[in-house]
Symmetry: C2
Subunit: 326 residues, 2 copies
Amino acid sequence: MIKYIITGLSGFVSKHFLDYLDACGEKAEVYGIDINQPDFNLSRFTNIKCYFREINLLNKDDISNVLFQVHPDYVLHLASFSSVSYSWNNPVASFVNNTNIFLNLVEQLRELHRPCRMLSVGSSEEYGNVNASNLPLKENGPLNPISPYAVARVSQEMLSRVFADGYGMDIVMTRSFNHMGAGQKDIYAVSSFAKQLVESKNRGDKTCKLVVGDVSIIRDFVDVRDVVKAYYLLLKHGSRGETYNVCKGEGIALSELIRMMAKILNVSVEISINKDLFRPKDNHKIVGSNKKIFEAVGWSPKIPLEDSLKDIIDYWGSKLILSRES
Amino acid sequence: MIKYIITGLSGFVSKHFLDYLDACGEKAEVYGIDINQPDFNLSRFTNIKCYFREINLLNKDDISNVLFQVHPDYVLHLASFSSVSYSWNNPVASFVNNTNIFLNLVEQLRELHRPCRMLSVGSSEEYGNVNASNLPLKENGPLNPISPYAVARVSQEMLSRVFADGYGMDIVMTRSFNHMGAGQKDIYAVSSFAKQLVESKNRGDKTCKLVVGDVSIIRDFVDVRDVVKAYYLLLKHGSRGETYNVCKGEGIALSELIRMMAKILNVSVEISINKDLFRPKDNHKIVGSNKKIFEAVGWSPKIPLEDSLKDIIDYWGSKLILSRES
């Protein structure tokens, strides 16, 4: 039986990873750890068995215990303190917590002395201040992180490489670009837009009002179901010590996503701009290259943008009905 | 009265910085902090007043207290856990301690809300795995750190930039190349060679035996007296948020340094190679460019290599006589 440990189990990416793993038909045991209980059902799967352990990754003894009990074949490290704005308000906590949870995990794994592949999930935030001439962003391009969170992410990736090259540990790294998908929190732009539009339509507004930040920015969005497939393939076939962009390779303006969502919902939209939602010194355009991951493991994103948006809208539709009923 | 705080006061770079500052004629108060008592006299100066405070930078309340009491104009952050080999044996402690002492200092400084320039001293180790085509190394070139220590150094530099650009703090950064000078510990190659040769000559050996690692490697050595002058000029005139190489701009093989020392001491040398002293995956050649610091603050190294070596040999000559007498 193949054994997985997933950190950050209660996040929305984990949920989709479990669905993917189960659909693959792989007979696996998954031990999910998180500081919060998952809000999804762990016993709904056909092929995989999933267990939850409430563990704070800042407590290395607890990590050590679970690693020694499970002896995992794969570790998917999704847990992070991932808010950029939190990191500006709490630079030390953001940096220290993100690097400490990674170091606790990797150091306890090193002490296992047992073959185990780990996927260390990073972020397109690592590229930071991007020069337009470097688009689409490639893995060997310059990293200019501009927030405490982004520095923590670059540090984690550099540490991963040192643990891979220096101690022979089996670690693969990603720089994952913007995700979209059902279950994503509404602190993220696209999920927030979908939620606002669905709420407004449900209220019967003639014109849906939408509060936004800078919607002229262009980002590289990947459906979370494509993302978790990339993670699975990198766990199985990625190269040790290498970093891979996980991205669509195409950019789209937030304003265009709003236009598409309005069309799906068949509503008209009135945009109201909130300058507080602008990030200081944001890049106008971020687009990655997925050539490296395609050549290494044959991954490319498959889900059309329209399907992703429909899925997100359906998610908020069901969730808002449920919350009204409860 | 201009006020300085120097972290890592008891190290050999601080001692030379104090000598330089005093010789400048600047009327300054210097508050030196370290976990160890300095082994040099703090009351020997003409123009500066120097005080020592035994403080562990991992204790942020103690840092906060000293910052609020002193209200420094300049902070020279020299303290670090700087051994690469320690970092391989203790990767987590090396990374966490180095980044934590920096973060404690910079965060407490941020809370002072008072103009103060800080020099964050980094290392040529940040360049890591170097491609020969990138020599001499320039500040905007790629960073490929290959040890836990080097990753901590890159992290500190990236955090410095975030604190400078994001919070408007007045921080200047260095990547300092190999130092040589009187007072350097004999865990460093050149100091170790000088000590061994002086000991052997003092014993009256016909041929001086010298235990070495890989002496074919080429490094960029700067006399510590030139280094501290660079730090002074960067504190006074460097640009906020910028990183500067502190290097000679020329490489020399360790074997050539040994030849020069043998000539100064008028001895013949028999080299014995200890493979344990080889570093895994070391670069054959590391040479930096000092164009940026020269153009910014007019600094270039002045002390001839031969003078540096004579100085180191004299230091070990006096020290070994003293230790025999005591």
